[in-house]
């Protein structure tokens, strides 16, 4: 969620159970402003918190000109000193998904190991090679943040515009979804590169506006039912919770342009989802 709206947005997502205490919020307010100046971001978001066994990571994200492509992620332990995370490339993602298992430990230099035994050569005279893949927790953190952004970041329809040059920017005249629109899952879009756009029929595309509808709709997610849509806080706030990444909460106040999402959880994907719905 945007650092400008931190002080009231935390109340709105607190229905998921986790908040920040006052000390952390004030520390964030100060350090995020400094971060924005140092890195020359257009906007700084407080992305969330990943809980580890010994320590918790606070994650912040800075956005540049293009909201989707110019992203930099930073982490910190005390909301004051921030370290930059390397962007996750495909090879790192593959390594991490092979090796990292269980909860986050809380130590960025902790190394996860995975040993694979490859047999090369004939049947009996096989040469056994041990391939050891090592990944440290910092890369696991970067990959987790990247995956959550890809699969579970949500924005309301109309909040972001795609200019004809391809730049994705905030829509300054977004007035918020109405109460009836906010109750439908198809008015919420994934904020990541669209994968399903071309599969829509021409009939469906007739109602869409290419400047607004350049992202995937949440109701197309498989399995159906992996998002929980609820009204919280005396039914004033609309809250979307992801069941695939438990801990991700998106909030929106209907008829106002306020929206945002935050992840506070242990950073593990819920692969048992099909059993649980």
């Amino acid at each position: 969620m945007d650092s400008n709206s931190l002080f009231y947005s935390l109340e709105l997502v607190a229905g998921s159970g986790n908040t920040l205490n006052v000390e952390q919020t004030t520390a964030l307010q100060t350090s995020l402003v400094i971060l924005k100046k140092n890195y020359k971001f257009h906007r700084v978001l407080f992305w969330g918190k990943i809980l580890g066994l010994k320590e918790d990571y606070f994650i912040a994200q800075g956005r540049g000109e293009d909201e989707m492509k110019d992203k930099k992620t930073l982490y910190s332990f005390n909301c004051m000193d921030w370290m930059l995370l390397a962007p996750a490339t495909d090879s790192v993602i593959e390594e991490v998904s092979k090796t990292a298992k269980g909860s986050f430990v809380g130590d960025p230099s902790y190394v996860y190991e995975h040993v694979e035994i490859h047999r090369a050569g004939g049947r009996n005279d096989a040469i056994q090679e041990e391939v050891v893949t090592k990944v440290n927790e910092e890369s696991r953190l970067a990959v987790t943040v990247h995956q959550i952004d890809e699969e579970a970041s949500v924005v309301p329809r109309g909040a972001y515009l795609k200019s004809p040059h391809g730049l994705v920017q905030i829509n300054r005249s977004f007035g918020g979804l109405s109460h009836s629109e906010a109750g439908k899952l198809d008015n919420f879009l994934h904020f990541s590169k669209a994968k399903n756009l071309k599969k829509k029929s021409i009939l469906e595309m007739g109602d869409l506006n290419p400047a607004i509808d350049f992202l995937d709709v949440l109701s197309d997610d498989i399995p159906k039912g992996s998002w929980s849509l609820q009204l919280e806080c005396a039914s004033r706030v609309l809250v979307l919770r992801s069941l695939l990444w438990p801990g991700l909460t998106f909030f929106h106040l209907p008829t106002t342009p306020q929206h945002g999402h935050i992840y506070i959880g242990d950073g593990r994907k819920n692969l048992d989802l099909p059993f649980m719905i």
């Binding site: 935390l10 109340e11 709105l12 607190a14 229905g15 998921s16 159970g17 986790n18 908040t19 920040l20 205490n21 006052v22 000390e23 952390q24 809980l51 066994l53 010994k54 005390n78 298992k101 269980g102 909860s103 109460h179 039912g225 929980s228 609820q230 009204l231 919280e232 806080c233 005396a234 039914s235 004033r236 919770r241 069941l243 438990p246 959880g265 242990d266 692969l271 048992d272 059993f275 649980m276 719905i277």
Partner: protein, 514 residues
């Protein structure tokens, strides 16, 4: 020639864009049925007629007047019904939360109230980084107050919140009123009567299968049923009491992994079949979470008076508040787990807190007496299950699934003199406890599911039972064919002939010997 063509093209283009603009202006508005073109022409006509001074400054007023003049003609007889939003409906119900009862006696409020100091608890929880947000906590506590007043409960506290896919549950834990009994026995009696009547009319062959005996429920006020739980969807909506939990439900809940939907009567479709609907599943999970994560600083509670010897099997299940508790310094509490103890009984494998020996049958059932005697003669009786006794420190909690069961830290590093010790459970994500001096509290906010490690694997259906042991008497063998029988017959005849010859030769030999 070309320049005139160029001019023509340009003027054509201008006419075209003018036509587009005019058609845009002629589009009627959805709300007022006016269109921009007509409105502008009327405004200009009015300015022409009236020639006001400083026309450009008063043009907005002129426009408004024109609109007002039209409005009276176009009043429609239908009025829009204002749509009540969900927020408005809920606000009506939550208004009751804020009403003060008129006959509130000042003296009663000064005595022990059944609720803890709600604002203090909310403040500490916020320091620990848990909770529902200040406003929501306030509403929840007012709803708890309403519950206590309506049900007359002796003691009540906020247990936590369980998130569901469609809506969530706010759970309150309360002590039973004195003299409360089970209300479900009447329903079971009615069902039995119906079954007996059917049996008399149509005697069907009875199967000889006797299902394994069900483990009996624990009585209200003991073991897993020590507290009553009430749930509601939103503060202000009516509270519903959850039924008491049975051991079969607890063992069933251990084997399935499902999200809650938010409506209490949804059936749970799972394998193995869960005996009950969502209300029972919710109650079973609440019982498991309480048994696993409700902790207190060591020394806050002390064991109650023990009746009888130390050696009897029933573990102590009562405790009292220790009046001499001094409070452990916060830094110590955050560092070592031995300063915290469980104060809810551990649930055994059987599904209860006190073990019941199912092999020993009571002599009431006339059908099963004979079998009961046979079983008692068996040499190996089931071993009694023993769990850790009440008030064991957390340092003795077993490490499951390669993670330490608890994570503890201080709530603040910068102002550590006034910080709290915060304990977070890793086995039940969402369970938190805080302690500061003499004050402590537990809360659970989460999805109601246990940490599953690598992943959840569904239980496999059991192998089909063998009908009978296989042996030589019942294994099929091929019948011998005709040729084989012939061969066998000839072989037997030869043997017989050989045997007769041998007997004949034997007899004369014997005669010779004489």
């Amino acid at each position: 020639m070309e320049s005139t063509d160029g001019n023509d093209a340009k003027s054509e283009q201008r006419l075209k864009s003018a036509a587009v603009l005019k058609s845009f202006m002629l589009k009627s508005s959805t709300e007022s049925k006016l269109n921009l073109y007509d409105h502008l022409s009327r405004v200009l006509m009015k300015v022409m007629d009236e020639h006001p001074d400083n026309a450009v400054d008063v043009i907005e007023d002129v426009s408004r007047e024109v609109k007002r003049g039209l409005f009276e003609d176009k009043q429609s007889t239908l009025r829009d019904l204002p749509q009540t939003t969900a927020a408005e409906l809920l606000a009506e119900q939550q208004r009751l939360l804020f009403s003060r009862p008129e006959e509130a006696d000042q003296e009663e409020e000064l005595m022990d109230t059944p609720l803890p100091n709600v604002n203090e608890v909310a403040f500490y929880l916020e320091q620990a980084g848990v909770g529902l947000g200040r406003e929501e906590m306030q509403r929840v506590f007012l709803a708890l107050k309403q519950l206590v007043e309506s049900q007359g409960l002796p003691r009540c506290r906020l247990w936590g919140k369980i998130l569901g896919t469609e809506s969530s549950y706010i759970v309150a834990e309360a002590e039973y009123r004195e003299g409360e009994e089970e209300e479900e026995s009447t329903e079971e009696a009615a069902e039995d009567e119906e079954r007996d009547v059917e049996k008399e009319m149509n005697p069907l062959p009875q199967s000889a299968y006797k299902p394994p005996p069900t483990v009996p429920k624990e009585a209200l006020g003991t073991g897993a049923n020590k507290f009553a739980f009430y749930v509601c969807k939103e503060p202000g909506l009516p509270w519903v009491k959850l039924p008491s939990v049975s051991p079969a439900q607890i063992t069933g809940a251990r084997q399935i992994r499902k999200f809650f939907t938010g409506t209490l009567d949804t059936p749970i479709v799972s394998y193995p079949h869960f005996p009950g609907n969502e209300a029972n599943y919710l109650r079973a999970q609440i019982a498991r979470i309480s048994a696993g994560t409700q902790v207190s600083p060591q020394g806050f509670y002390q064991a109650g008076e023990e009746e009888g010897d130390e050696e009897d099997e029933a573990p102590r299940d009562s405790f009292e508040v220790n009046p001499d508790f001094e409070g452990v310094p916060v830094a110590e509490m955050a560092e070592s787990l031995s300063t915290w103890v469980h104060h809810v009984q551990h649930i055994l494998q059987q599904g209860r807190c006190t073990w019941v020996n199912l092999a020993v049958k009571p002599g009431d059932d006339s059908n099963e007496e004979g079998e009961g005697e046979e079983k008692e003669e068996e040499p190996d009786e089931p071993e009694p299950e023993v769990g850790p006794p009440l008030l064991t420190p957390l340092s003795q909690d077993a490490e499951m699934l390669n993670i330490p069961p608890w994570t503890s830290k201080m709530s603040s590093v910068l102002t550590s003199q006034h910080a709290l010790a915060v304990l977070r459970s890793n086995l039940w994500p969402g369970a938190y406890s805080y302690a500061s001096g003499k004050k402590f509290e537990n809360i659970y906010v989460g999805w109601g599911l246990k940490y599953s490690g690598e992943g959840f694997s569904q239980a496999v259906p059991p192998l089909p039972q063998k009908e009978y042991p296989s042996g030589p008497e019942i294994t099929e063998a091929l019948d011998p064919s005709v040729e084989e029988e012939q061969v066998l017959k000839e072989a037997l005849e030869e043997e017989q002939a050989a045997q007769e010859e041998k007997d004949d030769t034997d007899d004369p030999e014997e005669e010779d010997d004489d």
